[in-house]
Amino acid sequence: MIEAVGPIKRKFAPWDDPTAKPFIRFENVTKRFGDFTAVDNLTLDIYEREFFALLGPSGCGKTTLMRMLAGFEPPTEGRILLDGKDLSGIPPYKRPVNMMFQSYALFPHMTVEGNIAFGLKQEGMDTAQINTRVAEMLELVKLGKFAKRKPHQLSGGQRQRVALARSLAKRPKVLLLDEPLGALDKKLREETQFELMDIQVELGTTFLIVTHDQEEAMTVSDRIAVMNHGVIAQIGTASEIYEQPASRYVADFVGDINLIDGTVSAVEDGVATLRCAGVDATIVAETGTGEVAVGAEAGFAIRPEKVQITLEAPPAGTPNVLSGEVWDIGYLGDISVYRVRLAGGSIVKATVANLTRIVERPITWEDKVFLTWPADAGVILLK
């Protein structure tokens, strides 16, 4: 289904350009439902042609934020601007944004064609033009053969494509995708993610996707906003979010992380020394962007794939060494996960890529192992 040569994405980073104007702007937006604050004084800029992801657990306010942009919920406070225009008071049927619903919300009494043509008919487009556009959309999502079918005669993946075609048919300025791939199985989801990216580049539409699946967010989007309890915990590209998480919450929510608590004992030239009493170790790490002061309670965060696991003790004086016993091994095919129990009882995970097909692996259960990493492999996160 994926063409070997897709459109190639150029370097695209308008958020780094101070002169760039945001296309969508949430300005101090708050949304309350009774006592519950779904979105809390949130400000966010999204740029034209950007593929932007709102990532967070259920109930974090990401869907509410999207529904406010679509016009289904009015913000309690603040305003939303699209292309410089305030959207307050504009009903959903007059907004130049279209949404692909999580449940797809296909009209069951209309054919695939009828569903895709629905939005165009509302515009009063003439029949010939509608037919051309519908044919175009059917080709885009590769559903030409199914034009005359009703939604209940399609598979889940096909319905998802119809929903996508319907929401793109009007050439909206912004396409909103609410957990668009949630109902698909893993293989199909991965394929569709790449197709979505191709379609987005091809049409140049601004895409805003809501998802709780971090892999999906990282795969498709230019930037990700990680949300928690109605506020944005961090905005950044996938690698920024993954490699430089701004908080423990982000580090923990996106990907797998080892967190080791300690007290800062020294800071010098952007390098902090962390005394970790719990695991009886001293960790040296870059301070990153946060202000780290001597005596502060902090945590050291490191991704499992950046931890090296060895049977031989490293030379004396090597910084960043933890020792422990292999507690558990998870074989996942491409990688193996070693759960190592340290002296204090806490568990540190280390993953190793399985580069060869050897059956016997040197490290096994209850082996005494050493965990090491370079100084720049992890980050210090303040409490």
């Binding site: 679509a70 016009g71 289904f72 009903p91 959903p92 049927y93 007059k94 944004v97 279209n98 949404m99 619903f101 449940s103 919300a105 296909l106 009209f107 069951p108 009494h109 629905f118 939005g119 509302q122 515009e123 319907r166 929401s167 009007k170």
Partner: protein, 302 residues
């Protein structure tokens, strides 16, 4: 051996016994009475007990008396304009009533389906509540409301809209029949409509709005078409019994309200002409059943 056979057959028999129940019911209370009525409709009236011939006492006599049966009564129905005008009038009243019921019932069902979940069950109860009182008593109550010196007149006089001597003359007219029918049959229209509307996925309306369709229009292009199964069920549930309605036109309607149920009653009790009234009933059944069967076959094809 025999025991093993019954054991093997048991699930099979149980399944068929279950399927047989509705068939048995239909046979006992629909098909058998219908055959009796049909037989009487082919007989001749007589001053006797029962008032028709031939009387078949045993099945053995059936073939010997077969030549006594005739379609005379059916031919008679076509000769007297009373009958076909009564049929037409019944169909017209039923049609108008069904349309009125749909107009009154749809907004009620729609309102119920859109009400907060917590009050929906209470609203359904409220719709069913009138059934706790006998149908006949409720129709009698309408006489008290509609008659010239009834509650409507009193209320309008009290409001000063009517002068002291003036009265509302609705009772004994076709309007009163329509009021009675719409009132009595409303639950049969509202409940299937509510069932259809309650199932409707609200995100479909959001999707329609999202694609540029204003709410009033999305009602006609989304809500109404998707509620059609409920509309059809409600219309059938009302139309069919209204065509044969006897009590409401008899109690609320005047002499000019001609309905086949009343004609049948008069034929049966006043004229004691069992064969002709049976023929009237058989024709009524055909008028109702044939279009329904055709319609259902059409639905299956779609």
């Amino acid at each position: 051996m025999a025991e093993r056979w019954t054991q093997a057959m048991r699930p099979f028999l149980a399944k068929w016994a279950l399927v047989a129940i509705p068939y048995l019911w239909s046979f006992l209370f629909f098909l058998a009475p219908f055959l009796i009525i049909f037989k009487i409709s082919l007989s001749q009236t007589a001053i006797a007990m029962p008032p028709y011939t031939p009387v078949i006492n045993t099945l053995g006599e059936f073939w010997s008396k077969l030549s006594d049966f005739s379609f005379d009564n059916y031919i008679f129905l076509t000769e007297d304009p009373l009958y076909y005008s009564a049929y037409l009038s019944s169909l017209r009243i039923a049609l108008v009533s069904t349309v009125l019921l749909l107009i009154v019932g749809y907004p009620i069902a729609y309102g119920m389906a859109r009400a907060p979940k917590s009050v929906r069950n209470a609203l359904v109860m409220a719709v069913i509540l009138p059934f706790w009182t006998s149908f006949l008593i409720r129709v009698y109550a309408w006489i008290g409301i509609l008659k010239p010196e009834g509650l409507i007149t009193i209320a309008l006089q009290g409001l000063g809209i009517l002068g002291p001597g003036e009265q509302i003359h609705v009772y004994n007219t076709e309007t009163a029949v329509f009021i009675g029918i719409v009132y009595s049959y409303l639950p049969f229209m509202v409940l299937p409509l509510y069932a259809a509307l309650e199932k409707l996925d609200a995100t479909l309306l959001e999707a329609a709005a999202d694609l540029g369709c204003p709410p009033t229009k999305s009602f006609w292009v989304i809500t109404f078409p998707l509620s059609l199964p409920g509309v059809i069920a409600g219309c059938f549930l009302c139309f069919i019994p209204i065509v044969g309605e006897f009590v409401i036109p008899d109690l609320l309607g005047g002499s000019e309200t001609l309905m086949i149920g009343k004609t049948l009653w008069a034929e049966f009790f006043n004229n004691r002409d069992w064969p002709v009234s049976s023929a009237v009933a058989v024709v009524l059944l055909i008028i109702l059943v044939v279009p329904i069967v055709i319609f259902q076959n059409q639905q299956k094809k779609v």
